[in-house]
Each structure stands twice: as C-alpha cells, then as structure tokens.
Symmetry: C2
Subunit: 339 residues, 2 copies
C-alpha cells in the first residue's frame, strides 16, 4: 500500500494551505471512547501493551476528527522498561532513581522483545487507516528519558543535571545506551508500518547552552544517524520542548531531523523566517480548552505566520483532559478553512 497525502507531502518539504493537522495526545482522556477502551483495558500500561486496544484508541480521533495523521498509542517510557528498569504509573510515572547505567539491560534482542506489542499495534492501525493518512511512531529523547531515570519520575530535571555536571562520563554512558535503544525502537516502528516518527524531548527547557548542545542536540543527532543507517529515507520530527531560539536554530542545523515541532511560546513569525526546516505546532493547549475568541485568535495568528512555509498544524503540547470536544471540531474547521 502506497501511503501519500497532505501530511507526508508537507513533511517532505511542500507548502500547503490549508496545512495538515493532528494533535499531540489526540488519543486521550478528553475522548469518551478513549475512556471506555481504557476502562476495558484496565491500567494505562495494560492499554499500551494490548495491541488490539492500543490500535483502537489510535484510530478513534481519526474517525471523529478526520485528522491527517494518527500517532500510535504508547508511552515514551517503554524505552525505559525495555532497558529493564521498572516504571509504575500512579498519577504520573514513578521510577526507582537510577545512578548508574550499568544496571540497565544492554541486549538489543531483549529491547525488541519488549517493543513487540507496539509493533503489532502499528500493523493493526496501518491495516485500518486509509492511505491518505500518515501513521506516526515516536519515542522519548535520550535526555528526557534520562531525566525520568535520574529523577524517579519527578518532572524536575535537577537530578539529571547534577549527574551530568558531576560525572559527565558516567552520564554520557547512560545517554549513549538510551540513544541506541531509542534508535532501535524508532527503526522498529518504521519497519512495523510507521510513515514517520517523532522524538519527544519534553524536558529540554531551561538548559544552559552548553548542556543543551551536549545532552539534547548531540544525542538527537546520534539517534537520527543510527535510524538513517538502517532506513536512509526515515522521516523524523524532533520536539525539543522549551528550547531557546538559539537552541532551536542549532537543533535544526545539527540534528538532521526533517521537521521541528515547536511549543506554544515560540513565535512562528520568527520560526518561519529563521528555521530552515519543516515546522509543526504550536497552539497553546489552554487556548483550546478556553475556546471562543482565544481559540480563533490563536489559530488565525498561526495560519498567518506559516502561509509561505511547509507547516503542520499541531498544539504546542499535548491536548488537556478538560478540553471540550466541540472546541476540537471548531479547531479543525478553522484550520481547514485556511486558503
């Protein structure tokens, strides 16, 4: 089956008005059908590990909103679990804080075994998704996964930063192992049917420029290089959330990603002028919760700023559980009315 369509055309560098649209966390708690399937599955981890149900929730937002891309339902911490480190979900992930990479499982065959349910779910989704819709895989970036491992799931990056400052070599070994595992998982997802993949660096904010270079840009470049060694045509979106503008320019030049997803604080006027790559983003999820004038102004500003560049409409971060469904319908209507 040849997959084409608006999303992949833009990711390939074409400029389209209206742009393609999808939303981070589009398969999620704001949808009653998601909540029903989640209840059937049991826990969040059970849902991730049951291919039939993960495929079902992946397809739900496409049926309801006709988005241009589906993103496989999974979690960035599957990489951590594949490395043999336990994760418990209890209002957010809880991990035993890690202080050395030596206790992690470095056997790629074990990783692939752990990733098998994700690959099976991708196959199920691709078989039920029309060829004009793209299917996305994803993984957490090495730095973000390291912040969870070092910090026990606390969303502060303090432990990871302290480790990186005090013991750059030991921390580097952790990052290298994570890079290898992330690259393996992204490659596996593309082989299983993903048309493109996104690397989520959710905790890239607030890093001094030298740490951003060493622990965000270089490992991401390493992941991209490894994936392209296996699949030269791999299409990769990077999302260094909270990166500074200087950081974004450097990330765009140095990592080799095909596109950059921008959080809501980034000026798209600036990005369209400065970042020579495909852009994705960046409506504030709270503007979508609020709806009304805030939503209309937010969407209009984004569409205006990105008219002349290859651009994929998205949120600046995941959709929030209290988002009214009618606001999402309104969003899709506003974006598709762009000319």
């Amino acid at each position: 089956m040849k997959v084409t369509g608006l999303f992949l055309e833009v990711l390939g560098g074409e400029t389209k008005n209206p742009p393609p649209i999808w939303m981070m966390r589009q398969a999620g708690r704001y949808l009653p059908e998601y909540r029903a399937t989640r209840a059937e599955a049991g826990s969040f981890l059970d849902l991730c590990a049951t291919p039939r149900l993960a495929a079902e929730v992946t397809l739900q937002p496409i049926r309801r909103f006709d988005f241009d891309a589906a993103i496989i339902f999974s979690d960035i911490l599957v990489v951590v679990m594949a490395l043999g480190h336990g994760v418990r979900f209890d209002e957010g992930p809880k991990l035993e804080p890690l202080t050395t990479a030596d206790t992690l499982d470095s056997n790629p065959q074990n990783w692939t075994k752990a990733f098998a349910p994700v690959y099976e779910a991708l196959g199920l989704v691709r078989g039920n998704l029309e060829p004009s819709k793209a299917l996305l895989g994803f993984a957490g970036a090495p730095w973000t996964l390291a912040t969870y491992l070092a910090g026990g799931g606390n969303d502060e990056q303090k432990n990871a930063k302290l480790w990186a400052y005090r013991d750059p070599q030991g921390f580097g070994r952790l990052i290298d192992l994570l890079s290898a595992c992330v690259a393996t998982h992204l490659t596996g997802q593309i082989k299983a049917g993903a048309d493109a993949v996104q690397i989520f660096d959710s905790w890239a904010a607030g890093l001094p420029p030298d740490l951003f270079e060493r622990w965000v840009v270089q490992p991401t470049a390493d992941v991209v290089r490894r994936v392209r060694e296996a699949i030269p045509s791999a299409r990769i979106i990077g999302f260094p959330r909270g990166a500074s503008q200087s950081g974004l320019e450097h990330y765009a030049q140095a990592t080799g990603v095909n596109a950059i997803s921008l959080d809501g604080s980034v000026s798209l006027d600036w990005a369209a002028g400065k970042l020579e790559t495909v852009l994705q983003g960046n409506l504030d999820p709270l503007a979508l919760v609020a709806g009304g004038e805030a939503l209309r102004r937010g969407v209009a500003g984004i569409l205006q700023a990105t008219r002349t560049v290859p651009f994929i409409f998205n949120l600046g971060h995941g959709i929030l559980p209290p988002t009214p469904i009618e606001h999402v319908h309104e969003l899709v209507k506003l974006v598709r009315a762009a000319a």
Copy 2:
C-alpha cells in the same frame, strides 16, 4: 550617606572587570546562620515580619562573602497579603484560588501599612551596610503574582492563563490592581533606603508571544512608569524568568528597566550582542551545587561572554539549599579574579 560602588556603577551603564556579584536568595537556607535566625523567628512569615531579624539575615551573606549588593529579606507574596488575600506557607505558599479582583483591598493606605515591616528592615540594613554596598528591594511582577492568586500557589500557570483567555477584561482588572500595588511597594522600598529594586517575574516561561506582550511586558512597563512618576531616578532590574529571546528583546526595549536578569538557559554571547541594556545573571544554581569543573567552566564562560558589556554576576535563579558554602567562596574568588 552617599551610596556608590561597583554594583551601582554597572547598573548605571559602566563596564567593569571584575563585575559586581550578588546571588538571588543569598540570604537563605544554605547558610547555618540563616537557619539559626529563622529558628529564633519561628515561621518564615514571622521572619519576614520582624524587621530586626529580617535585617540580620539580609546582612549575613554580606559579612560572609562580601557581596556587592544586599537584597532585603522578604517575599514576593507580601503584595498579595497587602491586598488582603491570605497566604499560608506549607512547603511553598498556599492561597485560596482567586476568581475576581473585586474581593481584593484597593486602598493604598492599607497596602502601605502592610509593607511597614519591610521598610523598617530596609532602614536597619542601610544603617549597617557600608556605602560601597548597594541595597536592593524587590517585588513580584503582576503576572507572577496573578499566577499564584489564580492557581492557589500551584506553580503551574494554567489557571491564570485560562482566566486570561476566557475573561481578558476581568483578568486585566486584577493585573492593573497588582501593578498599582507593586509600584507602591517598589516606590516605598526606594524611599526606605533601597538603592535599586528588582521585579521578579518568576513564571514568565512558556507564554505565547501575544500573552507575554499583554501580561508580562505591558504590566511591567506600567509598574516602571508608576515608580518613575514618584522617583524619576529609580533604578529597576527586571527578571522575566524563562522568557524567549524575542521576548527578552521586546522586554528590554519596551519596559524601561535599567537592567535585565537572565535565567541560566539564555546564551550570554547572544545577550551581550543583542540586548542593549545592563545584563545580570546567569550561572545555573546546580553548577554551584556541583562545584568543581562544572563551576569553573560555567563561571569562565559567563565572564568571557560579558567582558565588554555592563554586567552584574548572579545566578540564573535562586541559590539552592543543598549548596555547599565552600562552593560559594570559590565562586566569589573566581569572579573577583577576572581581569
């Protein structure tokens, strides 16, 4: 008494090597003498409200480290309390979430009564501080205070952003009242002996550009205008923590502050080239916790980037409680060795 010295010379626009140095939260829990005075006072709020003890902890880091500036020991939430809204400290501030500005006390005479202990403490400090050392007052910025009021002290900005999106006029009334009260307090502190004041916008990160303009830049400009109406020569430092680079450029041009304090994620090479104002910052507080090579490299990079511009050495955020005191001594030595 005529106060002069390195800090005020640089704040006035002169370039000095070595630069002056002070640290945000320099009177704090990392110091045993602070912990002793705090125990004598009872609670954190008791310490803020007892001028003799607040003055004592303000002077402690000057005695120990010979910093170029003292900052009065107080809290950004004194403005909230002056407006008649209760604040409880219990591992961070706890407030009843506010949904309308109408319940706040808009009588400036009551505000000034509430601020009296801060002014008394400033007088005590100034009398015991040599004239070569500057004394700083401070206040929270209207946006940051609004995030505490709307969110109940939760450090997410969600409630404030939602309020601003849904009801910009009602939220604007809150911001206007906060701006008036903040300006009153900054003016009062300068009259009581502060040589300069700093406006802390601790939660300015992650705002879309139009929200940053409307709720950070404009209210700060309003505060600066009000303070200068009362005291035309008032020296004001702004600290929009987490602002984007485009945001910082706009803040520098539009608010009228004399200097901008930068968080640790901002490239000082970029800032020294682009921001036409006095700079302050921006060592990562975790590099100071780590010490050793991380500290030496961090300090060297900052000093190198700022050699040719008016610059005040500081941290990118407040010093952390686990910081070893000998690392602070090392920091001061490294900065004072700059030539």
